[in-house]
Amino acid sequence: MSSKQTTSKPDGMKNGLRNMTDTNLLLTITIAIFFIMYIGAMIFLGSGFRRPQMFFSILNDNAFLIVLSCGLSIVMITRSIDISVGGITALITMCCAVYLDYKGGNVFVSLLLALAIGLAFGLFQGFLIAYLDIQPFIVTLAGMFLARGLTTIVNTNPFNVANEKFVALKNTRVIIPGLGYVTKAGKYVDAYIEIGVVVALIVVVVLFCMLKWTKLGRQFYAVGGNDQSALMLGINVKRTKFLAHLLCGLLAGIGGFVCFLHVGSGAVSNGSGAEMNAIASSIIGGTMLTGGVGNIAGTFFGVLSLSAIKKIVSSAGFDEAWYTGITVAAMLCLFLIIQSVVIARKKKH
């Protein structure tokens, strides 16, 4: 042991890498790749990416995905999975839209409705997974079917919400001073983000702190890392798993409402594929499905990387839809192989 330490001492960088936890190492890789990619786009693709607004519009479009991915990261850290979030998003947008438009309800109640739907799914799925010990994949698969089916039962045709107060809230923009740009016509356009982005950022910060410093947050990691030893430590494993799914459901509720705020319509197709995008983002952000490893900050950058690469592909002139799918998959492949190689090398030392 001592000889090993002396041999590795001169190599400071390597030693630093070795002392890093898996979580931090993967986080560093994610952030580095995101910046390399984005700076590359700024250099090679020119004006669009040099404007700060490009970055903010990526945030605007994907605020709901950030919230959903945070929820998925938490269940993935506890070695579980939830593939129902996309369906829940669709259900929430449809229910809220119908409530606001046909029933003339107010916006605050629709927010409560969204949270209630999310929590109900979380509660139900969490109970089945944690206390009845049923495979999370199957339970949340059923949850996804249920949510998608219920959406079409509520209403099949997509429609835009005309409720005045809601539209006012939807169009509320947070202006970011000093980062705007001047159009060709010589008009100055402010850089802005939507309310949803603010919500998403608050969620990221709160969850980051929670996972890092609260008892519950540490319990998630302990249960995901090894539930047997977590049990030995006196952690209520079932309760922890249940809470993870409950939290994921709540976040799906928030994410669904953020999505609703962004698109402003109820549609069956809302949030389609969101569950897989959220899982992909969490993985790119360094969360591992084997549990116990992951970080909300990584997830945040994971969503940004995924959305940025889509934007880059479409701005680079490959407008055929199939390029996006292939590039995103290639990037996912790259990240996964980097992760697996890095972890394997660390284990060897």
């Binding site: 999975i81 089945l128 206390y131 009845l132 010990d133 049923i134 495979q135 994949f137 199957i138 339970v139 698969l141 059923a142 949850g143 996804m144 079917f145 249920l146 998608r148 089916g149 219920l150 079409t152 039962i153 099949t156 069956v268 897989m276 899982i279 992909a280 993985i283 591992m288 499905l289 084997t290 055929e320 839809a321 199939w322 390029y323 996006t324 799918g325 292939i326 995103v328 998959a329 290639a330 996912l332 492949c333 996964l336 192989i337 992760q339 697996s340 190689v341 394997a344």
Partner: protein, 359 residues
């Protein structure tokens, strides 16, 4: 009365522990339910279709016909689940690729060929090879890079339909050749739908393989404990890879049936969500999704349970969009009943009941 009940109870609790119990019970309940609602449910009639070929028709035939794809995929999915302890979520996308390659070979550069550019068997073999290669790609990621199956196959899930569109330059070739339609319809003179024949052939093939080779033993050994199987001289990575390649063959067969049914392909719709049905079939069969022991028969029955459920719901005029919701409710009931915790609770309830009876 009391004595017989105790006896029954014993048999019942033994029966409950059988893996085949849940899928068979679900199948029976659904059939009985259908029979009550519609006494002609089991009726099979021999008629003639519009070309004048003899065909069997009836609900049961339709269920067996439409359930073939999921049943074939369930075979491969069971092996993958058992060996790797995870699921392949890319099969739907892989079916799209296999179908697209098949059409590409058969049609050449022409999208509406009068005659086929290559024999169907050549097209099938090429698509089979491609599907096996994609299976091997997944397998290598899972076995050698040690990525969790669901994550590894997420790559192909994302890219698959795009690749399928790219293979045919995003065009939709249509085959008018009648013999191509045999695989998804009827061969003249044979009244049984061809997909059913193909599915049975696949089942017989896998049954023979499991009977005469060590595949079952090796797969279960790897699934139960990878490192101890290695200590016993197995190569766990190779077995995992093999299971994904076998799934690739299943995918190619399903691709042939799916494309033949429509004589064309729609990249974003073909075999959509079929991976979910295939995984569901494995789960309904009572196989552990975490790997290890498996029952192929149970998975296949699970596949037909899903199809029976779908057909039943259609019969009750449930709109196809709302179908998933009802399906989900039934699935939840099934998995809750088959959950070990609930089963134990049932067994203890039965025991309590027995002691009360005796007292």
């Amino acid at each position: 009365m009391g004595a017989t009940k105790t006896n029954n109870g014993n048999i019942f609790s033994k029966l409950i522990k059988q893996q085949l119990f849940i899928p068979l019970a679900a199948l029976l309940i659904l059939i009985i339910f259908n029979l009550i609602m519609d006494p002609s449910f089991l009726k099979i009639t021999l008629g003639y279709n519009n070309i004048g070929n003899p065909v069997l028709s009836g609900y049961i035939i339709r269920i067996l016909d439409n359930g073939s794809e999921v049943a074939i995929l369930a075979i491969g999915m069971t092996l993958v689940t058992a060996a790797s302890g995870g699921q392949d979520i890319s099969v739907g996308a892989a079916v799209a690729i296999a179908g697209s390659v098949l059409l590409r070979v058969l049609c050449g550069s022409n999208t509406h060929p009068e005659t086929l550019q290559a024999p169907i068997i050549v097209g099938f073999l090429v698509s089979c090879l491609v599907a096996m290669l994609f299976g091997a790609f997944n397998g290598v990621l899972v076995a050698y890079f040690k990525i969790q199956p669901m994550v590894a196959t997420l790559i192909l899930y994302t890219a698959g339909r795009s690749i399928a569109a790219w293979v045919n330059n995003n065009e939709l070739p249509i085959i008018s050749e009648a013999s191509f339609g045999y695989f998804g319809g009827y061969i003249p003179g044979i009244p049984v739908p061809t997909p059913l024949i193909i599915a049975v052939a696949c089942m017989v093939a896998i049954g023979l393989v499991l009977k005469f080779t060590n595949l079952r033993l090796y797969t279960q050994a790897v699934g139960i404990n990878e490192s101890s199987s290695k200590l016993n001289g197995l190569n766990p990575q190779l077995i995992k890879l093999l299971s994904f390649v076998i799934l690739g063959i299943c995918v190619a067969v399903v691709g042939l049936i799916k494309v033949s049914r429509n004589s064309t392909i729609n990249y974003s719709v073909i075999a959509k969500d079929i991976e979910m049905d295939a995984i569901l079939a494995v789960a309904l069969g009572g196989n552990a999704l975490g790997g290890g022991k498996f029952s192929m028969a149970a998975s296949i029955i699970g596949a037909y349970v899903i199809q029976l459920l779908t057909t039943t719901l259609f019969k009750f005029k449930v709109p196809s969009d709302a179908l998933p919701a009802y399906k989900a409710v039934v699935v939840i009931i099934l998995v809750v009943i088959s959950a070990p915790v609930v089963r134990e609770w049932f067994s203890s309830m039965i025991k309590k009941f027995q002691t009360k009876e005796v007292a």
